[in-house]
């Protein structure tokens, strides 16, 4: 009879002990989640204040970041969007930390992978942001230079340069994100290489005379210099 009771109580006891062992982990997870949520909100608030004090919205408007957001149909203030992204990031970090407190091996592996991926994601986002600003700046500089030189296709040239730079930045960011890096590098090399090759061929074929003239002009200038030296 005792054995029979032992058969029933044994598993129940085991479940109870496991639950007793697991409960502090669950409480720790919940505590981390609640504190994390509050902390993330606080960080968001502080971040928002800092961005406002730095006049980030205005800077973003001038640098073209706001325009990029609008093209993606995001119509909140850039500072609010950034603060929300930071808030979301911290929320995910605290969620991961909370989950790791459960001490479950599968989750631990996932959390480990996530934290290893964070620096990559961060650098990819930085590449995207600064890359876009630099591309916009170079494109604008080319536009102004080409317009001032009276080049008819100034706008087209500026747009083409912006497109090429955007392609380069996207490839760099995707490579950082480790999203199909082999395919990205191959596709980028083929596309970029193809464009450069096409330009080289078209210049080579179409610009033979121009190149000859340039070289002849340079030679003439050199010869003139020599003459003056003799005198």
């Amino acid at each position: 009879m005792n054995d029979f009771f032992q058969l029933i109580i044994g598993p129940l006891e085991e479940v109870f002990f496991k639950f007793k062992e697991f409960t502090p982990n669950v409480i720790a997870t919940l505590t981390i989640l609640i504190l994390g949520f509050l902390l993330a909100r606080l960080i968001r608030l502080i971040f928002l204040r800092i961005l406002k004090a730095l006049k980030f919205d205005s800077w973003s408007d001038r640098m073209g970041l706001t325009s990029l957001m609008r093209k993606s149909d995001l119509w909140t203030k850039p500072s609010e969007t950034c603060a929300t992204v930071i808030y979301g990031t911290f929320l995910i970090i605290f969620l991961m930390a909370g989950l790791s407190a459960l001490k479950i091996e599968a989750i631990d592996n996932l959390v480990g992978q996530f934290f290893l991926y964070l620096p990559r994601a961060f650098s990819a986002i930085l590449i995207l942001i600064f890359g876009y600003i630099i591309a916009a700046f170079i494109s604008r500089a080319v536009l102004i230079m080409a317009v001032n030189s009276g080049y008819y296709y100034a706008k087209l040239l500026a747009q083409a340069i912006k497109l090429l730079l955007t392609l380069l930045i996207l490839a760099m960011a995707l490579e950082q994100f480790q999203i199909a890096p082999g395919i990205v590098i191959a596709a980028f090399s083929i596309t970029f290489g193809g464009i450069v090759l096409a330009l080289a061929i078209s210049f080579g074929v179409g610009g033979i005379d121009a190149a000859r003239k340039m070289i002849e002009k340079e030679e003439e200038a050199k010869n003139k210099k020599k003459d003056i030296e003799h005198i």
């Binding site: 919205d57 205005s58 408007d61 001038r62 073209g64 706001t66 325009s67 609008r70 093209k71 149909d73 119509w75 909140t76 203030k77 604008r140």
Partner: protein, 402 residues
């Protein structure tokens, strides 16, 4: 049929003989191939529910020379915006509706404001400023026509006559303002008849001749809301956001272009739209608000031209204006009598009294703050502060229109 007298320093294009609408439209259609035309319509949703807008849509549907219509819809809910879209869909060429009360356009205003540029209050001035921005962003038109959406006697000949002088490359006009007589069984247009013209002439009497005063006095109906201009003008002209819109816009035209390239055209035999109440006791409402804003606009523009206004000048101006306005009433009484029109002399005199008060109020406000100019910066200025603002505006309008 009107006379053919050329008055003032701008060109006046009269309605002589029987100009054929067909000929005008055919010519404009040809010219519009090299100078595409956009029509800008500042509208309130309430105008879609009244008799004016359905008539305007019906007439616009027959027009063949417009590249696009850009309608700025104000005071409308999301549902009303959709209704307005459905009504405008009857027009068989591209129509863009800018939803002024929408989230996206609101963010455009916020973007401009947070970069230290004044966008002013909601109203016709701000709406047309936004529409100009969209037309510039589209880069599809060389000519912009603008008219109100409360015209009860709308006919598409108005549109043709208004744009012909600017769209015709042989005429070399950059700005054309419409004029018409606002007569039913009586004369309307009190602010123009009894305030603007007598006020300008009073200032001339006190201060002497001045090119800007001559320029303003040249317009037969300076407060007409219908005009046509080259798109480049939309880049350089600032726009007042208050009731001084029409006078302020003329001041900007005067500032940026030679009067030789400005004209006015007779666009309608008669013109009927909604009438404003006088509200003589409330300077924040009706014609009184309008009058104060117009006077402020004139004083500020003249001040910018080098006029020195003192308290003594304004006292003398009130008296001189009253005399000029009273003389004007007598002239209009005679005009009404010969044409068999109803003429309420008492009402006209009451309006002049109210306008005299408005001039004093405007003078006081001006002396307190001569720099308080309610002008929205031109688009060149805005794009210098926010280079991508036009792209953002285009995205906002296109997304709202999806």
């Amino acid at each position: 049929m009107s006379d053919f007298y050329q008055s003032g320093i701008i060109t006046t294009l009269h309605n002589l003989g029987k100009p054929s609408l067909e000929r005008l439209e055919t010519e404009i259609k040809e010219y519009s191939k090299i100078r595409p035309i956009t029509l800008v319509l500042p509208a309130l949703y309430s105008e879609f529910e009244g008799p004016a807008m359905p008539l305007i849509i019906e007439e616009l549907a027959k027009v063949k020379f417009l590249e696009e219509i850009v309608l700025v819809l104000d005071k409308a809910s999301a549902k009303e915006f959709q209704k307005a879209r459905a009504m405008m869909a009857l027009i068989p060429y591209p129509v863009k509706i800018i939803y002024n009360d929408g989230k996206r356009i609101g963010e455009i205003y916020n973007t401009v404001a947070r970069n230290g540029l004044e966008v002013g209050q909601q109203g016709k001035g701000r709406s047309i400023w936004l529409a100009y921005g969209y037309v510039i962003a589209q880069n599809r038109s060389d000519v912009i026509i603008l008219h109100d959406c409360d015209i009860l006697s709308y006919n598409r000949i108005l549109l043709a006559r208004l744009c012909y002088p600017v769209v015709n490359p042989n005429l070399d006009f950059v700005f054309c303002k419409g004029y018409y007589s606002r007569v039913t069984d009586r004369m309307h247009g009190r602010v123009s008849r009894l305030l603007v013209t007598p006020l300008i002439r009073s200032i001339q009497a006190l201060y002497g001749e001045h090119d800007f005063l001559k320029f303003l006095d040249s317009f037969r109906y300076p407060l007409a809301g219908e005009f046509c201009m080259i798109t480049d003008m939309a880049r350089v002209n600032r726009i007042p956001w208050d009731w001084g819109l029409e006078v302020g816009s003329l001041a900007e035209v005067y500032r940026n272009y030679s009067p030789r390239r400005i004209c006015q055209v007779d666009i309608a035999d008669t013109y009927e739209h909604k009438h404003q109440s006088l509200s003589a006791d409330d300077p924040e409402k009706g014609l009184m608000k309008m009058t104060i804003d117009i006077c402020k606009s004139i004083f500020r523009t003249l001040s910018a031209e080098g006029f020195v206004f003192t308290d003594g000048f304004f006292k003398a101006l009130s008296v001189t204006y009253l005399r000029h306005a009273e003389d004007t009433i007598v002239k209009y009484e005679a005009d009404a009598a010969i044409n068999g029109l109803i003429f309420d002399r008492h009402e006209e005199a009451k309006a002049v009294e109210a306008f005299t008060n408005a001039i004093s109020m405007a003078a006081k406000i001006f002396l307190e703050n001569p720099l308080g100019t309610p002008l929205i910066p031109n688009w060149s200025r805005v794009t210098s502060a926010i280079p991508t603002i036009l792209e953002m505006l285009k995205t906002a309008v296109d997304e709202d229109d999806k």
